[in-house]
Symmetry: D2
Subunit: 403 residues, 4 copies
Amino acid sequence: MDFAHSPKARDYIQRLNTFMNDEVLPNEAGYFKSLVRGARPWNIPAITEDLKAKARTAGLWNLFLPDQEHGVGLTNTEYAPLAEIMGRSFMAPEIFNCNAPDTGNMEVLIQYGSREQQDMWLKPLLAGTIRSAFCMTEPDVASSDATNIQATATVSGNEVILNGRKWWSTGIGHPACRILIFMGLTDPSAPRHRQHSMVLVPLDAPGVRIERMLPVFGDLDEPYGHGEVSFTDVHMPLDYIIAGPGRGFEIAQGRLGPGRIHHCMRVIGAAERAFELLCKRALTRVAFGKPLAMLGGNGDIIANGRMAIEQARLLTLKAAWMMDTVGVKGAMSEISQIKVVAPNVAQAVIDQAIQIHGGAGLTEDLPLAALFAYARTLRLADGPDEVHRRLIAKLEMRKYMSR
Amino acid sequence: MDFAHSPKARDYIQRLNTFMNDEVLPNEAGYFKSLVRGARPWNIPAITEDLKAKARTAGLWNLFLPDQEHGVGLTNTEYAPLAEIMGRSFMAPEIFNCNAPDTGNMEVLIQYGSREQQDMWLKPLLAGTIRSAFCMTEPDVASSDATNIQATATVSGNEVILNGRKWWSTGIGHPACRILIFMGLTDPSAPRHRQHSMVLVPLDAPGVRIERMLPVFGDLDEPYGHGEVSFTDVHMPLDYIIAGPGRGFEIAQGRLGPGRIHHCMRVIGAAERAFELLCKRALTRVAFGKPLAMLGGNGDIIANGRMAIEQARLLTLKAAWMMDTVGVKGAMSEISQIKVVAPNVAQAVIDQAIQIHGGAGLTEDLPLAALFAYARTLRLADGPDEVHRRLIAKLEMRKYMSR
Amino acid sequence: MDFAHSPKARDYIQRLNTFMNDEVLPNEAGYFKSLVRGARPWNIPAITEDLKAKARTAGLWNLFLPDQEHGVGLTNTEYAPLAEIMGRSFMAPEIFNCNAPDTGNMEVLIQYGSREQQDMWLKPLLAGTIRSAFCMTEPDVASSDATNIQATATVSGNEVILNGRKWWSTGIGHPACRILIFMGLTDPSAPRHRQHSMVLVPLDAPGVRIERMLPVFGDLDEPYGHGEVSFTDVHMPLDYIIAGPGRGFEIAQGRLGPGRIHHCMRVIGAAERAFELLCKRALTRVAFGKPLAMLGGNGDIIANGRMAIEQARLLTLKAAWMMDTVGVKGAMSEISQIKVVAPNVAQAVIDQAIQIHGGAGLTEDLPLAALFAYARTLRLADGPDEVHRRLIAKLEMRKYMSR
Amino acid sequence: MDFAHSPKARDYIQRLNTFMNDEVLPNEAGYFKSLVRGARPWNIPAITEDLKAKARTAGLWNLFLPDQEHGVGLTNTEYAPLAEIMGRSFMAPEIFNCNAPDTGNMEVLIQYGSREQQDMWLKPLLAGTIRSAFCMTEPDVASSDATNIQATATVSGNEVILNGRKWWSTGIGHPACRILIFMGLTDPSAPRHRQHSMVLVPLDAPGVRIERMLPVFGDLDEPYGHGEVSFTDVHMPLDYIIAGPGRGFEIAQGRLGPGRIHHCMRVIGAAERAFELLCKRALTRVAFGKPLAMLGGNGDIIANGRMAIEQARLLTLKAAWMMDTVGVKGAMSEISQIKVVAPNVAQAVIDQAIQIHGGAGLTEDLPLAALFAYARTLRLADGPDEVHRRLIAKLEMRKYMSR
């Protein structure tokens, strides 16, 4: 048992931290100011493209990809601390081309995409010249069970025809978003896990309509956004289906493991960032003649925050290590565990960071409200807490039933 | 000991509930849709004026005022359940002319205003033709102690000259907002609680500038809004000072008691509304073949929610009763207790209501995000949780020190 | 709505507090010392009989009985604060002849007992010359559902023959315990709620055997004790059945309402006592140069404790008032609510009182360990938390299903 | 980063688990029954000596000692999972000669003892033929600061004379206890951390008197016990002082690091054991026609328990690894973190295990009450939660002050 990161991971941690401290964080306030909220299409702050270029030059690009060809060959355990560092700022993941859902979409194209699909969509995604969205969740059915999906991807001759309504399609509001992956029902008579297909759909295909951008506590999450999207008789060539009809469920399953670890590590980074702001405020803000750190239960809040974050981090690292060593099936309970623990810890810590900042904590003057929205949303995205607790309990019970 | 409301209160409860169910709630979704978010000045949905007229005709107007002259003579204990009912909808309090900070401002003018001040500002406020703001909190000092206030209200001949920066001036974005009450330092050499003055300032006075509207988790709280406001050499006639120079602190203290009870009862109404939505969703949404109410810990969440709300309500009613029977000084601990309990209970219940609605809970399709923002803000407004806990502990300790 | 106690209740509160402070609490340490732990039969500290005589003379006797004939005519709402005061000390309830399960047994005999049963058992119980036990819970079935009971009360000619095993028969270890009420299955073919009977059984009846006294965290709860009791072919005359065969369930239901309110108010008294000790310790114990009250989160613990106890008390008083005004059926949710809230609040507050006392808090030098055991046990007795939460949720859901 | 145990650790884990399952757990119920509670001297269940012999033969002896000479050369990280396994049963640690406070006392003698002290006391302790106690905590001063100690160890010629009162001297009630280590004030004029001495004192030395055994919730923790001990003019030869006068504080500091890790891992074992019983009960006990696992929030309780234990374990393992790699100073925050987290998690999990067992959970029929007492006590022993939280917050703040 060894809690030290590998030399390779340590090297990337050091370089990424330097980049974050020198290039990203000093530009964060300006970034938020330059986001023009309101009517779409949204603008991308110019700083983003500048920093993307610098990050690519610095070799801090596509680090999430485990293979040497597209990424730099980091395991999940090695990438996890890097995802945490990126999670410290809302603006960071895109800069390193490591933001959801592009990461998951690239993984899917690498693993299941045809040569043509890769040439057309993977290459520009890897280069960061376009962005993408993932259209799976639907407003009318419990998204916790993918087999509930009602949207259709009907094969007809050389075409697949898409109909239905999706929402929480993250990233679809980004000005550079060009492609989305659509999940739909192809063959209701097939076995339960062979009924759905995933289809590549250019955003400008006729019949695709972004109905609205969904607010999270009033925040539209610019310049990414979460869209509600309707698909009305969208005709796509048959070879836009990824890996062929009926393999949607299989692809969806494989997509979730690493994605959840990335999300959880990023949200731990968000928690750590909020915690740092909390500590600094506690030391510098004075009331009743003392720094807040010396008042009431603030010391306990700090101690409890440190313990909660540290435990969530260790659990997430262990889940990453299990993914690397025993695979997504063997790590199933641990992945569900971090999916519950990390966002809840983060939400609580960020809430306390807001509290210690008083009214300022709620405003755009600090990154806290954005981080809070991220943590809160993550308690629902990729399966709500309840579904993961249910799975953890089931796996726990199974230990005693097999005996 | 009698937990039944008085016949008079019961009559108003019944009438107000009917009005809410028949007139307000059915119009709520339309109200939210008709709020044009974005650039100010904001619009007021037309329905608001219609319903205000109906409410006034129905005798459901200015109910918060305890006297027979301006209100209908309800005690705090009798008004409390009405505030709760109004708190069920973000749009409701204004309809009954019972929304903060106008309520507190009217109380101040009734109690401390001169005849001229009352004629000019109280009358239209009582009639609901104008609205008002209250400018006390400042960005640069801990607002938990009013004696910290740095803005100045300097008396010079026949004038008082105002300078300083305020924020969280709620309601200042409302198109009908015409007048604000400004709290500033007049005489630093006077005894500690005689240094400040409250001054009436028309919103359009030269030197008054709304710098920005503050978002709460990205939500601007239209059409009321929380302003950051600068005052630069604002010259006001001397008789715009309420009750004369140096009485600001005294007025502020008296203003807080009933205001906190109103806030707490409204936020309990918010919690109850969210809880009702939670229960209905639990009964109607199906996953894994069962209504959510039958799944996992949802039954416990419902039971715990009911117990938490009921206890917070009883505590708030007791605080109101103490205000009526032993006055604000005698009710000091209870008022601080409800100021901690009610918003925290509400925040937790609303968070769970959001969770059970999945992604929809975060959007404008439901009133939950707005209610959440209200509860979250209230944990900071009128003194953060920490300051109230501190006071409760101090009063508790005092019991044993005097023995 | 009026939170003031009635003049009659206030008079009893004042007299009972005086008696507690003058006669009971000063003798508490001696009482605990004089309990000889270990082999039974246990002794009763002499002080108990002395104080019982004084309490009876002072008119502080059988206060729990609502009628004027046996008690002094107090409603549940009026008795509740008295039960709280008695709950402050483990030794107190017996002194006022108000301890469980004698209270419930007396209520049963008053309401359902025959003249002969009353002469033989009710009179000495009312006089406090004997004590009693209640044998309902069984080790082998979930006691949360009385219809599960497996012990039998078989009618055969002029006799009823009892067989089975019971546990958590509280008070059966008391040297003055003479009579127990046994609940058993009489007619499995009758309708579900008409199958059981309650039978009076002298403790020395042949076939009744106390197998052991059950420890609660190692504490045997002397001199009352919780027994595991076997019944082997115990022959009783037919007229020892209370109210005749088949009415056991009906009697059990009626018994629970007031009993739960008594328990909850006593446990709130226990919490309040622990909280008082906590506050005093916080003021007097010094560490790092300051009283503990000034250190870390102790102020918050005090504030949170005050809020939690006050809310639990108000909820319990409301449940009592509902019992008085709408009866046990109408108060069903509230009674389950207090049964969850009160012991949990008490357990948490007492745990914190232990913590602030350091090692001393765990020992017999303080009443805290005994109070903790009481609160912990109450989370299981008369229905575990889980069953009550389940019922609360069900009643809550019902509101929306009938609409 | 590698979460796998070393091959050596895995080998011991496997062997220890086998021994526990084959030899210890099947004898646990008998062990508890054969403890004659009540008057001292207590007996040692015969099984203990049998199993000690077997454990020694099996090479599962003194595993806590990191050196190859006395132990088997396991690092803290390697020993940690073994301590967890031993913590599963109250009776286990002694069997492997790994129980507190003997472990800490042996460490002290190995590190600081003279050849004579080692011959006389270390050898029989290593052989498990005698046991020992540690007398540091005092009833009258806050034990959180060792410099408060009031007991005296006065050097006078060739002797050191001990006076004072100690309590929570764990293990002093064991029939084989022969030696204790006493901490006392020797030179109040010396620098703050050079004033105290540790002295070896045979239990039968004149002037040593066990005043009483202290109950934890009524449980005397037989056959070990926690003593309150008075020392009255106890004369010891000067060379019974460990490492010479004035080094008590230095020795105490070094003693705490590994000891806290051992305690925390054992209490995690206790939590895991309770959790296992909870799960089994949830699967086998039926109410309302379903196994408890399917009812209400029990699934959530199971999921939450698994997450809490797993996180506490990882944090404790990390603290052990830091102790191994950067030493006790570098691991200071982590050691305080586990000292808060592990016992609190264990107390909560064990409390829930009790709850799911109903009344049985409180009795001696299950190991739960004993495990609960262990976890509860550990929240006070070796520094209460509050002191550790205080230290964690201080270390956290320091990060920002040095910047």
